[in-house]
Symmetry: C2
Subunit: 303 residues, 2 copies
């Protein structure tokens, strides 16, 4: 920070989901951009291991009063709500945690924001709310709970003058991704040479580098400063390079300089596999900076 800037109090962020893949990257991006960063999280081992620049760790074990206290104490200018339970498919035992993580926590957060007069929220949605087109049609129960929260957000935005932007995410990737996702399988196979049994591979993917996703969150926070912004808004955070899974593998092979053993068509497609992606509205003033070729090259080098 320059001396001129340091005399102004930094903007304060309250982040949920900061232990997740995107959340942990977002903390760093916020810090580097000069924000004072607070987090709400379940009190566990990770809470003790937050980066040293985190100004406040506010515990949450399910009570509304804890979220109210977290917002009161951290006095955020902007709340970044990334906490969610992602499940491609659910079991009956996961109904309760899905509703708690994806509907209840967010509602508690909105109530706390209303009580404290906090006016700006960047929320996290998913392109899976829009199966086969522009209208709401959820791919899975996870996406349905995300839409359920959007409806509750619409109520708070309408009654409190709160401004909110929901970023509908596609697929994310980047360094330090602990998730057991497709790209992890592919990178493992590059190393081991093991043959992968895959579906037909014609489903469309929109992989976005985590740094680009984080810059989208920061851009949304900037847009929210405009008191005239209609609210809530939803923007699609697309990496700009949509291609089939087969083509994604080709990009990875080029980045690695070697071929992957993939057996296409050896597995069935998932039920409600998303073959054609949603085209949502783009966020003004934001564009992804990392091409898939660049991002994959960096991943391969780190392996």
């Amino acid at each position: 920070m320059s001396e001129a800037q340091s005399s102004v109090a930094p903007p304060r962020a309250l982040v949920t989901g900061s232990t997740g893949f995107i959340g942990s990257h977002l903390l760093r991006h916020l810090h580097e951009a000069g924000w004072e960063v607070h987090v709400v999280m379940r009190p566990n081992a990770e809470a003790a291991a937050q980066p040293s620049y985190v100004a406040g760790v506010h515990p949450y074990t399910g009570a509304t009063s804890q979220i109210i206290e977290a917002v009161e104490r951290s006095k955020p200018d902007t709340v970044f709500h990334l906490a969610s339970l992602f499940l491609a498919a659910h079991t009956p035992g996961q109904i309760l945690p899905l509703v708690e993580a994806n509907v209840l926590l967010g509602t508690q957060l909105l109530e706390a924001m209303m009580l404290s007069g906090t006016k700006m929220l960047v929320n996290t949605g998913t392109s899976w709310q829009y199966f086969h087109g522009e209208q709401y049609r959820p791919v899975n129960l996870y996406a349905a709970t995300k839409q359920a929260f959007d409806d509750i957000l619409a109520y708070y935005a309408d009654t409190t003058g709160m401004r909110a932007i929901t970023l509908a995410l596609f697929d994310s990737y980047g360094p330090g991704d602990p998730r057991k996702k497709l790209l992890r399988l592919l990178l493992d196979s590059l190393r081991t040479g093991e043959t992968l049994l895959m579906s037909g591979g014609e489903q469309q993917l929109d992989l976005v580098h985590v740094d680009d996703i984080c810059s989208a969150f920061l851009r949304a926070a900037t847009l929210l400063k405009n008191p005239e912004l209609p609210s809530p808004l939803t923007y699609a955070v697309s990496g700009g390079e949509r291609m089939s899974l087969q083509d994604v593998v080709k990009v990875l092979e080029r980045a690695a300089g070697k071929s992957l053993g993939v057996k296409w068509g050896a597995r069935p497609y998932r039920q409600r596999e998303v073959m054609d992606l949603w085209k949502g509205p783009a966020m003004p003033g934001w564009k992804p900076q990392t091409t898939l070729a660049q991002g994959f090259r960096a991943l391969v080098e780190q392996e």
Copy 2:
């Protein structure tokens, strides 16, 4: 039941919210129409006091497994989902019970229906999901949680072939109403002669007799038997006599044959008072049978 009918197994209903005002009337209507009636409810004093014709009382204390068991054991043809927590305005401490009652329970029910292959659901919505018009715009958080559940219902309907009709209710009234609502105040004032301090009284009301609401639930169950029915559907259950609160009082005064002491304008309107009601789609084959004059006369006689 005639002998010819008694040789056919009666249809089975599973009802949530059966201890509520509408729910308790619906049980009787279902019984009188020849249904075998099961209920899901919290184990409390009311559970022991269910009508003798109730074939099964299935306990629920919050667990998904209990709802699954209730559906498995009762094997309903049709589920009537009336349980909800109604709050005109909420406090922070009511966020959790609102989400539990209006989102979680219904989601558990849908999951249980999916697992057992139960195909027909009559769900309860509210005209308050449509403040000032045709589009979703919730009057309060209660209505927002109802809409949130509709989103989750859309997912199950789309993926399981389940057929669902949501009945969007306006105001209800009838004998044995324990709720401390406006009509209760008016009836009390008829008896005591006490002057009532009211708002301007120009807000529109759509009061529907509970017997008509129950017949709407039964009509919806009949419509759901059509396997080609698009799903989910929403119908507005209007009493057909929309009028201002001032005019409602006039109808009551005529029914009682005496005047009420009402001071109009002595109180402010509620925040987000609904002045103009939603005009939703009418359900084919259903019409209210009880005029406000008839319904009020019966109420006054019972007092």
